[in-house]
């Protein structure tokens, strides 16, 4: 579960501060795809950054799978991301030197020497995840030899390979055509339901709203009441 509890985030803007997130409270439950939509600059990416523990709020709490991330040191927040959060970026952000399989295996190596214990368990899941995203036959290809949709599928598999409790997805269809976008959104929904992750997905593209279980509209750093709920 993701809980943002009365969270405020401001950025320096010249001599003043710009309020990106203004006393927001939201909850994304396990097994549910919660969509965040809104105009450009409305604060939805800032909310995602808060949930990803990449920034610390000025006020309020960010609770990830029962852990108050605002109380964690930077090192502990990094460990929380590594162990309990899956991140899918707007662009696939794959490493050019790594094959599709290695993009997933790298998740077992991020903790340095302490990662060794996780290596075997993560690697055991790699083939399963590649199958789940339909790319087991592309496992040895590097990103340069994959299509945009395939890259985004690999990015999704990478985000799930360490079995996170929370999945954060930023505009996953922005670089894809409508058909591939729909395919990715359906895949995210299916994997969220199967794996019971709490998924928070930022999108400005309402074409794929059917894939969302709940949708929140962000306006000027504030969140309106849910406009859609399928009650998963």
């Amino acid at each position: 579960m993701i809980l943002l509890d009365d969270v405020t985030l401001t950025y320096p803007d010249g001599d003043t501060h710009l309020t990106a997130v203004d006393h927001v409270t939201l909850e994304a439950r396990a097994g549910v795809v919660t969509g965040l939509t809104g105009a450009s600059g409305s604060g939805k990416s800032s909310l995602l950054a808060l949930a990803a523990t990449l920034v610390r709020p000025d006020t309020g709490r960010v609770v990830i799978d029962g852990t108050d991330a605002t109380r964690l040191s930077r090192a502990d927040a990094t460990a929380l991301r590594r162990e309990r959060i899956g991140l899918v970026f707007q662009q696939p952000q794959l490493l050019p030197a790594l094959t599709a399989r290695e993009q997933l295996c790298v998740m077992a190596e991020l903790g340095g020497r302490r990662a060794r214990a996780r290596r075997r368990t993560v690697r055991a899941r790699v083939d399963e995840l590649l199958r789940a995203v339909g790319l087991e036959d592309q496992a040895d290809r590097r990103p340069a030899h994959l299509s945009g949709g395939q890259r985004q599928r690999i990015a999704l598999a990478r985000a799930l390979v360490h079995e996170p409790r929370v999945l954060l997805v930023d505009e996953p269809t922005s670089a894809l055509d409508r058909e591939r976008g729909a395919s990715i959104m359906a895949l995210i929904a299916r994997l969220t339901h199967e794996r019971q992750t709490a998924t928070l997905l930022v999108t400005h593209d309402l074409v794929h709203r059917d894939a969302l279980d709940e949708m929140l509209i962000v306006t000027d750093g504030r969140v309106a009441a849910p406009v859609t709920s399928r009650g998963y």
């Binding site: 920034v55 090192a75 990094t78 590594r82 991140l87 970026f89 707007q90 490493l95």
Partner: protein, 350 residues
């Protein structure tokens, strides 16, 4: 090292290029080190071979002591012999001149030594292997120096003094030779064994005292020659650190986006730093190993024609220093790793 190894494989052309640069710098440093060692041996091996804890020279006036000008009279020799703590004092004369052998004439350094280092009679001479080769002389041959004829009684050792091979005669014979060559016949240097209060004795007697290694600066050719070569080697060490540092800084900057993504996914800065330094170490070790291998090959080939010393001091030590300095240079690139903000991974389009 998971990503580092795969980067090495993926960008093998770029890493091969920097590895080749490291190998060439290692070859250059190794070759200069070997040459420096060879030239140093040709310059000072006879001095370093003297049986001494300390060497005593005499400086005239305010000038620094030098082997070329030093002259130690009998009074000073006796004073050193009687100093408390002194076990043995051997006066040694050194003069450079030409000698004529059965086959050729060549420049030699004539050393005047006491027994047991000196030959038995005052018309006898021992040759270093370099002198025997240059003069074409062997045991039983005659060698003429400054009009005196000496019978060669032994050939051995490979001692050199100021780039001339050494020949050794009895101390009295040496005095006569030195006078005929325009000198005063006094010993050039004292080889002192024992543990006296060296500085106090030297000051009281009006001489200077130093270790055999420290005395090398009293050879002007050694100072200038080794100084120039050491400067070149030092500059090459600096250049290698700069080149490796610049390469890995540019390389890491190119990967700044990847680093931000890895941090966002949960990579620790220390793991990424180990990855970056490990990658640099691999390149350095491979490059230095290749360069050292080439140095050994070229050094072996050049050994017959050039004064070249091939050993751990001229191959392994410069190689290890290059690895250490290159790693220090590569460490500069860690600033990119430590300053990379994972937040930039969100919303960036690469």
């Amino acid at each position: 090292m998971y990503v580092a190894w795969r980067d090495l494989r993926f960008a093998r052309g770029r890493f091969a290029l920097i590895g080749a640069v490291v190998a060439l710098i290692t070859l250059l440093v190794g070759f200069l080190s070997g040459l420096t060692g060879g030239l140093a041996a040709q310059n000072v091996s006879a001095v370093l071979a003297l049986p001494a804890d300390r060497l005593v020279l005499h400086a005239s006036g305010d000038t620094a002591a030098s082997f070329a000008d030093s002259s130690i009279d009998d009074a000073a020799i006796q004073a050193w012999r009687q100093a408390p703590g002194v076990e043995r004092v051997e006066p040694v004369g050194i003069v450079q001149t030409r000698a004529e052998g059965p086959d050729a004439s060549a420049g030699v350094a004539v050393m005047g030594r006491a027994a047991p280092a000196a030959p038995g009679g005052d018309d006898e001479m021992t040759l270093s292997s370099g002198a025997a080769s240059a003069l074409g002389a062997a045991v039983g041959d005659d060698v003429t120096v400054a009009g005196s004829v000496f019978r060669v009684t032994a050939v051995g050792g490979d001692d050199w003094y100021s780039h001339t091979p050494t020949v050794t005669v009895d101390a009295d014979a040496w005095s006569g030779l030195d006078r005929r060559l325009g000198g005063d016949g006094e010993a050039t240097v004292l080889a002192v064994q024992g543990a006296p209060d060296n500085d106090a004795v030297a000051t009281a007697i009006g001489t200077t005292v130093t270790t055999p290694l420290g005395s090398l600066t009293a050879l002007p050719t050694f100072r200038s020659e080794i100084g120039s070569l050491a400067l070149m080697i030092g500059l090459l060490f600096g250049i290698s650190a700069l080149v490796v540092g610049a390469f890995f800084t540019v390389w890491t900057m190119q990967r700044a986006g990847d680093i931000a993504v890895l941090k966002a996914l949960g990579a620790t800065t220390s793991a990424l730093a180990r990855d970056a330094l490990g990658q640099a170490l691999v390149v350095l070790i491979v490059g230095v190993a290749a360069g050292t291998g080439l140095t050994v090959v070229f050094g072996t080939l050049a050994g017959g024609t050039l004064p070249f010393v091939l050993g751990p001091l001229t191959t392994l030590v410069p190689g290890l220093m290059l690895i250490a300095l290159g790693t220090a240079g590569a460490a500069v690139s860690l600033r990119v790793v430590t300053s990379s903000d994972p937040l930039t991974a969100l919303g960036s389009t690469r």
